[in-house]
């Protein structure tokens, strides 16, 4: 079995950076030139997945290969929840990280991929601490908020990040004899609950994803405790992908410096139009995928 330190180690190296969704080699190059620390190879960005409908699967293999050939930074790709054969193929291709993602149509409505079986590290989405710890117990080396992908609406990523952080703070205040009841409440393995209570943090890095559209969104998530930011539709669905990609990269480095953020945010075009998630049909919400 691959030493977990190698998997979490790569996640550590991505800290303080931006991981950008790209759908071809040209976009991957734009992302790399803007200073992205990694790219996520996709068939369509989440906003287009929503628009297209149908079943969303792992990206076309040739497309992933082209993207891997185009850039030197790590390349991630998404597999469907529970679709370990897609994950096996992605590992065989040599991608650097697999996102077992709710953005694609789930392949299993009970089980996620058993990620310890793989050499390549996995990132998984979580809305709360219990979900994060279940994914870590399955072998995830990195956790990200789910947010609500493809909407450009940050409210869900904020909710998920706050929820995880609040639950960690709560665990840190509990007595040892209260942790089992809390583990039951969280629906998370006791050993991991105990570890988080002692360390006051997740055993893997915690990134933000789902709805980031502006430098301010990225800074907000970093100030709320995210260690890096995934940007999906936010870059390539905006009016000025190159400038916006650069601005979001700078915003993640200087997230605590409002004057710098003001300077970074000037001279940007329009954000992606976005969807107000409070006005969406329940069936269109994808963050509830995952168990």
């Amino acid at each position: 079995m691959t030493d977990l330190r190698l998997k979490i180690g790569l996640a550590d190296m991505l800290r303080g950076g931006v991981i950008m969704d790209v759908t071809d080699a040209e976009q991957a190059e734009i992302a790399e030139q803007a200073g992205a620390v990694a790219v996520m190879a996709l068939e369509r960005v989440p906003a287009d997945i929503r628009a297209a409908g149908g079943v969303a699967r792992m990206a076309n293999v040739q497309k992933i290969k082209d993207i891997m050939a185009a850039v030197d930074i790590p390349v991630m790709a998404k597999c469907r929840i529970g679709h370990f054969a897609e994950a096996q193929i992605l590992q065989a291709l040599g991608v650097d990280f697999i996102d077992e993602s709710e953005v694609l149509t789930p392949a299993d409505d009970q089980n996620h991929v058993y990620k310890f079986d793989f050499k390549v590290p996995f990132v998984c989405g979580a809305r709360n601490l219990g979900e994060a710890l279940r994914r870590i117990a399955e072998g995830a080396a990195l956790i990200r908020t789910k947010g609500e992908a493809g909407t450009g609406d940050i409210i869900h990523a904020v909710r998920h990040m706050r929820s995880v952080q609040q639950e960690i703070r709560k665990l840190a205040t509990l007595r040892s004899d209260e942790l089992m009841a809390e583990a039951k409440q969280l629906q998370a393995p006791y050993a991991l609950v105990k570890m988080v209570a002692e360390e006051k943090k997740l055993p893997v890095p915690n990134f933000a994803a789902g709805g980031v559209a502006s430098p301010a969104d990225a800074a907000l998530m970093m100030q709320l405790g995210a260690e890096s930011v995934f940007v999906g539709s936010g870059v390539f669905k905006s009016q000025d992908p190159e400038a916006r990609a650069k601005a979001i990269v700078l915003a993640v480095t200087h997230y605590n410096d409002p004057e710098k953020l003001a300077e970074i945010s000037s001279q940007l075009g329009e954000e992606m139009r976005g969807i107000d998630t409070s006005k969406m049909d329940k069936q269109d919400i994808i963050q509830n995928r995952g168990w």
Partner: protein, 201 residues
């Protein structure tokens, strides 16, 4: 001895170095450096962590931090550079991509020289005779993640450790460069070496 440490925090795994530095230098002042304005008046040590060399380079160039660091290096401030950091400080990079060599140490490096993430590994590192004056350790583990290789070393460069006969820890004057991640090992001799070099300087 109070050591003022500047931790380059543009991007990458700077947090793991934090803990190690406070253990090695209990009276250390730590500064997170993202921009030239973050540089304090006096620094004794600068750490450039692992991360993405292209990202760190692009942002350091944009803010002018690269030039400031070059001045500190010329003044003799000590530098510890790991993985991406070591790539940036080298004299030549075989496959630079968007990164550029800052030329603080006479080595030639190759990025991602072992391959992709599935080729990352934990190996045994052997310390050379040159390292004896800084550490009693003969071996330790080395965590290599999408790691570079040092392809060539200049005449002034001391090789302090090798892995499978290839140099992985090198020193030239006030620069110590590692292609692996001592910050990810529980008891890496690299911080011993760093401490002994700085305290004897």
């Amino acid at each position: 001895m109070v050591i003022n440490t500047g931790l380059i925090a543009i991007q990458g795994n700077f947090n793991s170095h934090r803990q190690k530095i406070s253990e090695a230098f209990p009276r250390s002042n730590l500064f997170l450096i993202r921009d030239i304005y973050d540089l304090p008046e006096k620094l004794d040590l600068v750490i450039i962590p692992g991360g993405e060399s292209s990202t760190i380079h692009l942002l350091a160039e944009l803010s002018g931090l690269r030039k400031s660091l070059e001045k500190l290096w010329e003044q003799g401030v000590f530098f510890l550079a790991t993985c991406a950091g070591a790539i940036l400080l080298s004299k030549k990079i075989i496959n630079p991509g968007l990164a550029e060599p800052w030329n603080f140490i006479e080595i030639t490096t190759q990025r991602n020289a072992y391959g992709r993430q599935v080729d990352s590994s934990i190996q045994t590192i052997n310390y050379t005779e040159s390292a004896e004056k800084y550490t009693s350790h003969r071996h330790s583990e080395g965590v290599f993640i999408r790691a570079p290789k040092i392809i060539e070393v200049g005449a002034e460069v001391e090789i302090l450790a090798r892995c499978n006969k290839e140099p992985v820890l090198v020193k030239q004057k006030n620069v110590l460069g590692a292609t692996f991640h001592p910050e990810l090992s529980s008891d890496s001799p690299v911080y011993d070496i760093l401490k002994n070099i700085i305290c004897s300087a």
